[in-house]
Amino acid sequence: MDHQLDQHTAVKETLPTVFGYLGIGIAFGVVGRASGFSPWLVLFMSLFIYAGSAQFITVSLLVSHSPIISIVLATFLVNARMILLSLTIAPYFKQASLAKNIFLGTLLTDESFALGMNKLNFTQGRLNFPWFNTVNLLAYATWNIATLIGALIGNYIADPQQLGLDFAIIAMFIGLLYLQVSADRSLALSLQLLMIGLTLALSYFGAVFIPSNLLIIVVTIVGCSCGVFIKHRFYPGQTTSH
């Protein structure tokens, strides 16, 4: 990374993250196909929802025929962190027009956010529209091309049940959860492990009386509320860290 904020530099600095998008994008395409959707519908999900891991949740809830409102709410909850990323990065584009701000927000991702925050260390705290927009556009293009590749490969996989492909979504969440825990510095490791154990207990005992299509949302809202309480009660030093 350097102090340059032109499009050429943006392309150079985004390329390493492209491989990350490729892997998870192809995986999403395969999972979408294995879940019984046409390649074009799978591509439409990536083009229109563009929510990374949240799209795996959308697909798994569609397959289980959950109520539309609970799928939309679950997708929103998984992606609610985008509000925080957006709030954090938006001030750097105050000089840009409202239309440009809306366009940057539309294609904002975890990865472009992370690159942007990293870039600030090299530019005396400046970002501009051409640089950030190029990062966003490359990510969007890669995500959708990868999805299409995965969806087309999925066409040639005859019996997904026998191949264990239905486990792809679960394996993805195990991977995303592990990567989240190992990368997240905002919560203490012991608190994160405690939250995972608490979620296991809530999922197990909640299943006794909460219908399956509401279970995840109820567990998430109850779990996060417990998390706030536990953090204030037992991790007083962390209450203002973000």
Partner: protein, 107 residues
Amino acid sequence: MSSFEYTLITIIGCGLITWLSRVLPFILLKKMTLSPAVREFLSFVPIVIMSALWFSNLFTQDLGHLPQLNLENCLASVPTLISAIISKNLLVIVTVGIVSLALIRLI
């Protein structure tokens, strides 16, 4: 409502809500900010929801009773988790998971 309509309406709903959560802060930032309490609540969402999506697949629900263990998914989770710790690579993790469940079903 047909299955295609159900899917399409859901995708449009998910797309709009995701778009709003990305774009509204850019628009509203000067007028309001989230309270620290809300930010703190949201900071737990990724870890809790990803855990919940994993764990809910380890049980077979039986309303009114404690759920049954889904042994296939429980067993396949073990090599998947180990591959996550070793590789830290999503494509590797998913491949190991798929192969693990396929082998378990074969046996």
